[in-house]
Amino acid sequence: MNHKELIASMATKMNAPKSVVESLLETTITTCKELLAEEKTIGFQGFGNFEVRKKEERLSVHPATQIRTLIPPKLVVNFKQSSILKDKLKDLPHHE
């Protein structure tokens, strides 16, 4: 499901025009991004938490060439599902 399909699906469920849904979604996303940029954790009830984590700098060694490279620290967004969502997913059969 891509962005457009998501908007379309939500629009039909909410009985709202796509344009409204789209602008609301846009606002939500920018709000979330701003909060994450301030390194804040966002919790969605029943869904999960978005959190910024710091990856410390590390030394990587290229296995073939033995070249050592210092990887600088970085901040990444991490999503952790809530236990409610986890329970919902438990019932899902494994098919692959």
Binding site: M1, N2, H3, L6, S9, M10, K13, M14, V21, S23, L24, L25, E26, T27, T28, I29, T30, T31, C32, K33, L35, L36, A37, E38, E39, K40, T41, I42, G43, F44, Q45, G46, F47, G48, N49, F50, V52, L59, I67, R68, T69, L70, I71, P72, P73, K74, L75, V76, V77, N78, F79, Q81, L85, K86, K88, L89, K90, L92, H94, H95
Partner: protein
């Protein structure tokens, strides 16, 4: 940083409502709908891509064995799905902004950053436009290296050997240039070039003098026959020079493979001079006007430099003439490269490009495009990345604020930093010379 601070669903609803100027109820309903829609899609086994944010996807965790901590029994954790989230690249960059100016650094065996080493040794072969100044810098670097060597080593064997290597390199280098000059000078009989040709010729006797002496000394250890020739030669330098050099040329090259590779590196660097001279002819017409301006700017420093070297050469030569000097090698080592720099700078003169002038003229910062406050965790490099697009250009910000901050690494929190308006040619991130110049300044400021 408030990493602990957690924004709840309700707060998000409030924020979205005020931003989109809709009622809180509508916003809440929308958010709930968004989450259920995403959940439903995920439960249906689909992945959900939200533009500008990221992708939600189900990940299957395989069942695995574990141990019950309390009873010590083996238990099996069932396989399960979890929702994975891969942030969009725009979100990634946004979040990582405080560290965006950091780049991976390749370390060599000593744990020293390679970048520093690279700037001292031979660099990549550049376009004709850049070659002359680059060479000048390289030779200056080598000069300073040799200076450093002669500074801390008087009779140390290892170092002396190193220096011998240098001699060889320089010898071959000089020999080649001499040949070239004699050929190419004839070719380039452009009116504009004439004065320079004369100048180079004036310098030539000097140049030729020194290499011969070094050759003599370097080779002294290996071929005793030559040494005999050498002693008298010191006084009849000029005449015997050319034969000497040709004689030396072969032994040097067959000496060792390491040396050969060294000298080939040098030869490679020398080659562009040839190209340069071909290229020189057509471009002269185009750049003639620029040259006049360039000459105006560049002449004074070059003249000074020339005089300086000349006096040092004189000093050293007179020292050399006094027999008590044991550090002959060192002195020669110092003298020779200086000569080469002189040749180069003389040759460069007519074609010094505007960029070099830009680098050399002391920068003044009359205008500022912005000012920023240093907060915890922010650095000049970060500001540079933000305003100039490349973190390396932080040196210019530092220069503009230097009167107030001594140490670029210790700028107190809350300080106001002015971001200077810079010549766009100076901060052209696609031009490796700009980056290189900035890195040079970086070395300069950070070392202090």
């Amino acid at each position: 940083m408030n990493s602990k601070e957690k924004i709840s669903s309700q707060e998000i609803v409030d924020l979205v409502a005020s931003k989109a100027s809709v009622s809180k109820r509508a916003a809440e309903e929308f958010l709930k709908m968004m989450i259920t829609t995403i959940e439903d899609a995920l439960l249906a086994g689909e992945s959900v891509k939200v533009k500008g944010f990221g992708t939600f996807k189900l990940q299957w965790n395989e069942p695995r064995k574990s141990v019950n901590v309390q009873t010590g029994e083996d238990i099996i954790i069932e396989g399960y799905y979890k929702v994975g989230f891969v942030p969009d690249s725009s979100l990634k960059d946004l979040v990582n902004e405080p560290f965006a100016h950091l780049e991976p650094v390749t370390l060599d065996d000593d744990g020293e950053p390679k970048i520093a080493a690279a700037s001292e040794s031979e660099e990549e072969i550049p376009e004709p436009l850049r070659i002359f100044t680059e060479q000048a810098f390289e030779i200056k670097n080598i000069l300073s290296e040799i200076n450093a060597l002669s500074g801390d080593s008087s009779d140390d064997d290892g170092d002396v050997n190193d220096q011998d290597d240098f001699h060889y390199e320089i010898d071959t280098f000089e020999v080649d240039e001499d040949d070239e000059e004699s050929e190419s000078i004839d070719e380039v009989v452009e009116e504009t070039v004439k004065p320079e040709v004369v100048e180079t010729k004036e310098d030539e006797p000097e140049i030729v003098e020194e290499p011969k002496v070094t050759i003599v000394e370097a080779v002294a250890e290996e071929s005793k026959i030559v040494t005999e020739e050498v002693e008298p030669l010191t006084e009849i330098k000029e005449d015997a020079v050319e034969e000497e050099i040709t004689v030396q040329e072969t032994p040097i090259k067959t000496d060792s493979s390491a040396l050969e590779s060294d000298s080939s590196a040098f030869l490679e660097n020398v080659k562009p001079i040839k190209k340069k001279k071909h290229w020189f002819v057509p471009v002269i017409i185009l750049v003639l006007v620029g040259i006049v301006a360039a000459l105006y700017f560049v002449y004074p420093p070059v003249n000074e430099f020339g005089n300086e070297t000349y006096t040092t050469v004189k000093d050293n030569v007179s020292k050399w003439l006094t027999p008590e000097n044991k550090n002959l090698d060192e002195i020669e080592a110092v003298v020779i490269p200086k000569d080469t720099t002189e040749i180069d700078s003389v040759a460069i003169e007519p074609v010094v490009d505007s960029l070099q002038i830009l680098f050399d003229t002391p920068r003044v910062y009359p205008e500022f495009i912005a000012s920023a406050t240093i907060t915890k965790g922010s650095r000049l490099a970060w500001l540079s990345k933000k305003y100039y697009g490349l973190s390396d250009f932080w040196v210019y910000i530092y220069e503009a604020n230097r009167d107030r901050f001594e140490d670029p690494d210790k700028i107190p929190e809350g300080s106001l930093i002015h971001i200077p308006k810079l010549d766009p040619r100076l901060i052209d991130a696609s031009n490796p010379r700009c980056v290189e110049n900035a890195k040079k300044l970086h070395d300069l400021y950070v070392k202090r």
